[in-house]
Symmetry: C2
């Protein structure tokens, strides 16, 4: 018997995510697949986008991780959010969009141009959902930094990341790739690397978190201060 096959032998995380968000039709998927061939790669630690730059193209993240960061005058750094496969970069409705923050590649990143969504209802839905989800995650990040303890911040952020990777089909039985250093996790959670280290160790001892060699998993349990309902459900009807 021939098993039904997915639309591609190699599953593309970005396509998985956008299909989930916008219920793309075959022609829309084909548009993305066409763009895969003109993918661009960014080397580790290089800027994908610089604050103040004009944004001529909208990009679709294909692989790798990136971090939207802000550097304060004294050199301290805050990671505003992470950009993961299937995420869009540069969505906005200004005529001459300007990047409001710098996005840096963590490890090697590949991107392709995001297809034009005009006259493409599925893509339009997917982009709108993507933007709404990103905004919801900014809210989550604010609540994390403002009202959670170190332990809660780290656990909550990792759960959010896991949920997002899952949307792109990037979470397996044994967990997911987590290519962060503890220092980056500190920059994202507003903590010091030293305290992140101690807190991560504690979460490991609690059995909540496994994380070694860039691979992590986190057990299903609800944190005390956040319900962590699926974000996708939070920003759409039903």
């Amino acid at each position: 018997m021939i098993q039904p096959q997915p639309h591609r032998s190699v599953v593309e995380p970005a396509i998985t995510r956008l299909v989930a968000l916008g219920d793309l039709d075959a022609s829309e998927i084909a548009l993305i697949e066409a763009n895969l061939r003109v993918a661009r790669t960014v080397r580790p630690h290089n800027d994908i986008l610089r604050e103040g730059d004009a944004i001529p193209t909208r990009w679709l993240m294909l692989s790798g991780w990136a971090a939207r960061t802000r550097v304060l005058e004294d050199g301290s750094r805050q990671i505003l959010n992470f950009t993961l496969p299937g995420d869009l970069i540069g969505l906005c409705d200004q005529e001459h969009p300007v990047a409001a923050s710098t996005i840096i590649a963590i490890g090697k990143v590949t991107l392709c141009p995001a297809p034009d969504a005009r006259e493409r209802p599925g893509l339009k839905r997917a982009y709108a959902m993507s933007r709404a989800i990103e905004e919801a995650h900014l809210f989550d990040q604010i609540a994390r930094l403002g009202r959670m303890s170190a332990e809660e911040r780290i656990e909550d952020l990792l759960r959010e990341i896991c949920e997002r990777l899952d949307l792109a089909g990037l979470v397996a039985q044994d967990g997911f790739d987590l290519p962060l250093t503890q220092e980056m996790l500190a920059d994202a959670t507003g903590l010091t690397p030293v305290h992140v280290n101690r807190t991560v160790q504690h979460l490991r001892k609690l059995g909540v978190l496994q994380w070694s060699h860039g691979r992590a998993s986190i057990v299903a349990r609800r944190s005390r201060r956040s319900e962590r309902r699926l974000t996708l459900a939070r920003v759409s009807q039903r």
Copy 2:
């Protein structure tokens, strides 16, 4: 001699702001003025929008302040941002938008429907700029909570508010209305009311901040950790 008059004898802050953002033409201003007549008012402490609700209408804030809040499971509260006169509520490109957070009126608030921007280039520009500015302020809020001290958070937030009110023409020589309690300021800065009290007193002693009876002013000076360039300049060309 007859002096040139502003377009209305009573200057409407919301119109001032949108004109500044989008360079509206007379017909677009007229559209807003028409909507002023169907303004709705929300009483203090009532919800303008509830998380999870469908958003049938886009609103334009005319007067008063509102706070976008998230309440965590243990009852602690985080104010994500403030909504001020001239701000838009419900901008997004989803077909069936859902509120990602609750917005509560601080004091009495008046709103009117935001005119449809289709075929209205000025309004389109203004709405796009408004959204970009709001996003930039979310980034600012994250950096504040993640990387600034109590003193810096309060000073930086108040400067941001002052800058925003100024765009709507709501800052006078002697300062601006600041209808917040110290508790709300605590919920916005991720601090406790007690510590906000002490920090505000300190800022007063430093001569940085005047604030009494709901009226405040803050002296021009750059905070150590943030440059606080005008946000409007940050999200647009030149």
